[in-house]
Symmetry: C2
Subunit: 336 residues, 2 copies
């Protein structure tokens, strides 16, 4: 019996917060790669917050879900790839993806877990690195506040700030995450925004010298709290606004006047413009991981069918580290 492909597609536009009912599964024959294409047996799919924004657009349904994947070359009609090679690229939420070979990047399984190619050594890591070191530019003894600090990007951004000598405080959504960023990642402090009370007061208590750099993937209340505690000439790096992605009416930021008072520079950051730096970054990240200079958590769910719930859970913050879905066996897994 010939194996079949299975795919999770977007089946409905969410009216408010996304639910698993917005997704559907369908089966099809596995496509044959055309000239220049590669058939990838996907191993890991990425759950990225920006997919939630994509769900709101009005293109026809059902439609595939574009997603970074890392997998094994099954068949190749591109000279750079042979069966068995590991590669990452832009695929779909499915068991097998056909991709142009020119869009894939080979992954050396000897340098670390292959999943890292789409997490700590990939675009989430590059986001943390460039946004923190190039835009935020923390100096020794400055205070850096990081939102979504236990997440795929924030967890690294904070560690890069620590390497620059800064004092780093994370905003997180649970006590377990607070523990994770302080005990495991070496942050100097953490604020659980779900602990109740006024967030800006909790941030002020955790940042007694004020905030010099704020790394934002959240927006909303967290951004307001950071503005309230901002020091003169603070730098805010705006990488995302996940607080307003999941169908909530966007919470307005009411104290932007503080950006005038503190002469804050707020810079919107898009990692896509820095993609050309990924090969250098990936090599560096592998070295830092190998040397124990940075640590990185992945939060992996198993099975294609788990993808919708894994994604929605991530939007609600049920992950520690990068949320991935494993849809085929990982032959390089240490404990596999």
């Amino acid at each position: 019996l010939k194996p079949r492909n299975r795919e999770v597609v977007l089946a409905a536009r969410p009216a408010g917060p996304a639910t698993v009912d917005c997704f559907a599964e369908r089966a099809s024959d596995i496509a044959e790669p055309a000239d220049g294409e590669v058939l990838l047996r996907n191993v890991y799919l990425s759950c990225d917050p920006h997919l939630r924004q994509e769900m709101d657009n009005d293109r026809p349904l059902p439609r595939p879900i574009s997603s970074r994947v890392v997998g094994l070359v099954e068949r190749s009609r591109h000279a750079d790839f042979l069966p068995g090679d590991v590669a990452w690229g832009q695929g779909r939420w499915e068991l097998f993806s056909v991709c142009p070979g020119s869009s894939l990047t080979k992954v050396d399984p000897a340098i670390g877990p292959i999943s890292h190619a789409i997490s700590v050594r990939g675009m989430p890591g590059l986001t943390a690195y460039v946004a923190m070191t190039d835009v935020g530019r923390p100096a020794a003894d400055e205070t850096v506040l990081v939102s979504a600090a236990a997440g795929a990007v924030g967890s690294l951004a904070g560690q890069f700030a620590k390497m620059a000598g800064a004092r780093v405080v994370g905003i997180v959504g649970s006590d377990a995450k607070a523990d994770h960023v302080v005990r495991r990642l070496g942050f100097d402090g953490a604020v659980n925004y779900r602990a109740g009370g006024v967030l800006s007061e909790a941030v002020r208590a955790a940042c007694p010298a004020g905030v010099d750099i704020y790394f934002d993937c959240v927006g909303g209340d967290a951004l307001e709290a950071a503005l309230a505690v901002s020091n003169l000439h603070a730098r805010f790096v705006l990488c995302g606004m996940i607080a307003s992605y999941d169908g909530q009416p966007a919470a307005g930021v009411r104290n932007l006047m503080q950006a005038v008072t503190s002469a804050v520079t707020m810079t919107g950051f898009r990692v896509s413009m820095h993609r050309h730096r990924l090969p250098w970054y990936a090599t560096m990240a592998a070295g830092l991981l190998a040397a124990g200079r940075i640590r990185y958590a992945e939060d992996i769910r198993d099975g294609l069918a788990a993808a919708p719930a894994a994604f929605i859970g991530m939007l609600h913050g049920d992950n520690i580290g990068k949320r991935l879905v494993r849809v085929n066996e990982d032959p390089y897994l240490r404990n596999g």
Copy 2:
């Protein structure tokens, strides 16, 4: 009969929008300058938006209103000043102010109207100049959007952008102001935000190539509209948020995600940090005015008693150009 001083003071904290009832007038003897001090016969008082924020603080009432003034030296116990000299500095809303001589700057009445020392040649002008040319940095053919474009700062900011070769569009609050900025100041277009309709659509129509630089003294709806139309790598200069000064609950800015999408840099600007540049700027501004390269409107009300209504009217946008109050005769007035 010895002349008396009269002063307008803050008598009540506004519960919502400020009213003239928040102010009171009181009379006193004219103070004698102590050693190192100067007695100034104030001619012009400044009506500055930030006074509205000062009104909300909880220091004891009634209290004096600190304000930039320009006037004539009446008596001097400071070696740099002689009776009859013109000087500007930080005084109060009153007929005569005693100031430390070290805090006053002499004004040459030959280079232009003495009122210009606290308007186009003064801190409002310096704000427009540094914020636009140093922070916004318009290049030829870029589109510059200016809020409060008929006001004390915006009217100049737009003209400095024109001098850099940019296409300049102003947001204003009346058709008369739209006429003023286009016909008199040379802006390329104007949007009347009170004309009804969706502001971002009107801005988009007036800025068909998008917005590269936004000069903001307003915040709120105008800032949201500018974000909606922002080009990649747009620069936003945040100089003030007058929309939220007058006791309204601060309107939250809901589309900050656009700053991420467009990789916008938003920079809060405080002119006080650039005060040391005022002597150079003032000389340059006088030259530009004399050469007809820039134009500047002042909107002057007469009499100390008119100050509260003049100030509140300015908060509501009833001024074209810099709102001043003349409290004593200006002996240098051309038509005086």
